[in-house]
């Protein structure tokens, strides 16, 4: 399959400039933060010689382009520096937090897709019918509810009023599976509900476009059942744009659903970033921004690479 190989090669090559740009942006963004990082690390009591020493050690006395190259070299080796607040190396710190976020986000987006695809297809099939109107109304409503508020309402009802689920905290899955499950039910439910809205509307819109195409009429004329038409002919084509959307949603959320993690006091990646911002812990801020942006680029890359599975025409062009 030379066309497919060329497509993959081209897409991979295109990622390189993006990655470089993203790292340049993160590097400069962190350097634009007001305040001197050396002062921040050493505190007010530092002597001028200590300041000079650390400045040299961090390479901050070098010209900016040199600093950038040095930093990029360290990043390539997985060295993102140490946290100012607790001295821990940034990379393992982030990876630990990322696990929490990843479990919740992947579960939620997966569930949302499982609900959204049939709902969107059915709505499109019965376009402008009662079912369609109900589905669109529900989806639009869900799309309009802010996740942090829905989370609070669910906490109030299931955590505080009914007392079915724990309200604050988190238990790692490796420690106690069932207990861990009770802590992530509400965050996963919240995120699923929110994303179902966006995805359902997406599936419905693309399915409506596909349903109008001639080959669908042809498939019907051939005597295929509506079920076969929908599942075999409409869904594969209508799923392509949705797949891109899933990638965008997943990529955005994996970098930390800071707001959701705040509502449920989860030790996720988003919360790490926000806490680091408050503590002016700039190695952690820099690490989180870079990690999240790379993740976003990577998820979208994977999504694009999977695209030919749904739509073989992609490789042809």
């Amino acid at each position: 399959m030379p066309a497919l190989a060329r497509y993959i090669g081209k897409r991979l090559l295109w990622t390189l400039p993006t990655l470089l740009l993203v790292s340049v942006m993160v590097f400069f963004m962190v350097r634009l933060i007001p305040g001197d990082p050396v002062q921040l690390i050493l505190g007010d009591q530092a002597t001028p010689s200590e300041v000079a020493q650390l400045t040299r050690k961090l390479g901050l006395d070098q010209p900016i382009p040199v600093q950038f190259v040095l930093w990029l070299g360290q990043v390539a080796q997985g060295d993102l520096g140490n946290s100012i607040t607790n001295g821990q190396p940034v990379l393992p710190l982030m990876l630990g937090r990322f696990q929490v976020t990843a479990v919740i986000v992947i579960l939620a987006v997966g569930l949302a897709t499982l609900i959204a695809v049939p709902a969107g297809l059915l709505a499109a099939w019965k376009q402008n019918g009662r079912l369609d109107i109900a589905v669109v109304a529900a989806a639009t409503l869900l799309m309009s509810v802010p996740s942090f508020w829905l989370g609070l309402v669910l906490l109030l009802v299931f955590g505080l009023k009914l007392g079915w689920l724990p309200v604050v905290g988190f238990v790692p899955f490796t420690e106690n599976f069932w207990s861990a499950l009770t802590y992530i039910v509400l965050p996963v439910a919240t995120l699923t509900l929110i994303e179902v809205g966006v995805l359902t509307r997406m599936v419905r819109a693309s399915a409506i476009e596909v349903l109008r195409l001639e080959y669908v009429t042809h498939a019907r004329a051939k005597g295929l059942s509506e079920r076969q038409v929908l599942l075999r002919h409409v869904m594969p084509n209508a799923f392509a744009p949705t797949w891109t959307m899933i990638g965008l949603v997943l990529g955005g959320l994996l970098g930390g659903a800071a707001v959701l993690e705040t509502v449920f006091t989860l030790p996720g990646l988003g919360r790490l970033l926000v806490d680091a911002i408050f503590a002016r812990d700039y190695p952690v801020v820099q690490g989180c921004l870079l990690f999240t942006a790379l993740l976003y680029v990577l998820v979208n890359l994977i999504v694009d690479l999977c695209y030919p599975l749904f739509d073989p025409r992609v490789t042809a062009s």
Binding site: L21, M143, S144, W149, L156, G255, T262, L289, Y296
Partner: protein
Amino acid sequence: MKRPAPNLLIGGTLVTVVLAMAATALFWTPYDPMALNLRARTLPPSELYWLGTDEFGRDVVSRLLLGASQSLTVAIFTVLLAVAVGTILGLISGYVRGITDRILMVVSDAVLAFPGTLLALGLMVIMGPNTMGIILALGIAYTPSVLRIVRGSVLSAREREYVEASRAIGNSEFYTMIRHVLPNCVAPVVVLATSMFGWVVLAESGLSFLGLGVPPPAPTWGNMLSAARPYLERAPWLGLAPGLCIAFTLLGINLLGDALRDRLDPRMER
């Protein structure tokens, strides 16, 4: 004359109500939204205080009204900023092309390589948590999407006969661009700006909820929600009211956006 679509009707009503709330707060609120009253802390809704009072005894209705004007101010200025800068850059990019276009596209690709909220978070660190900072941060984050849409419309419009004709009869490039190319971008930009308005309201309330937005004591729906979290059980109205305001605003904007898209995007015509 067609009957107005239900989403236009409901969406329009909701948005009008929110705009009216924001406008009212500029002239009048039932109580001073900032005034502390330690003897009236976390009072439930009553005739005196329609939606109760918060943990400092401040009237929730007054704060919601002022919060509406805060959120809408941020949203309006952010969208204006993104649309103005994005349109100008998009026109330049699509019309001048060449190296200018390349540079602009590379920069906008880099900005788009970040998830929107993350970029805004990063920029907020630089700008500091204040209203101007949010407007700038979100404005920068959303400019590239406008740029791309305008550039796309310009690229397709500039090859049309009427644009060539305008040039041929001796109109200046600038005049041609404003008079004949720009109008082509209006419909897609209006549709985008409407959804963007919703994203900004959501992003601003999210940032304020995290404590990175408009700083207290000035009320925004986001920071009211975050302040309400510890009182969730004792004073649930504190958390319910601002969230409903955000949800209704977003619902209104989403419905309005759908109505606009149906009308302006010929592909969606029934």
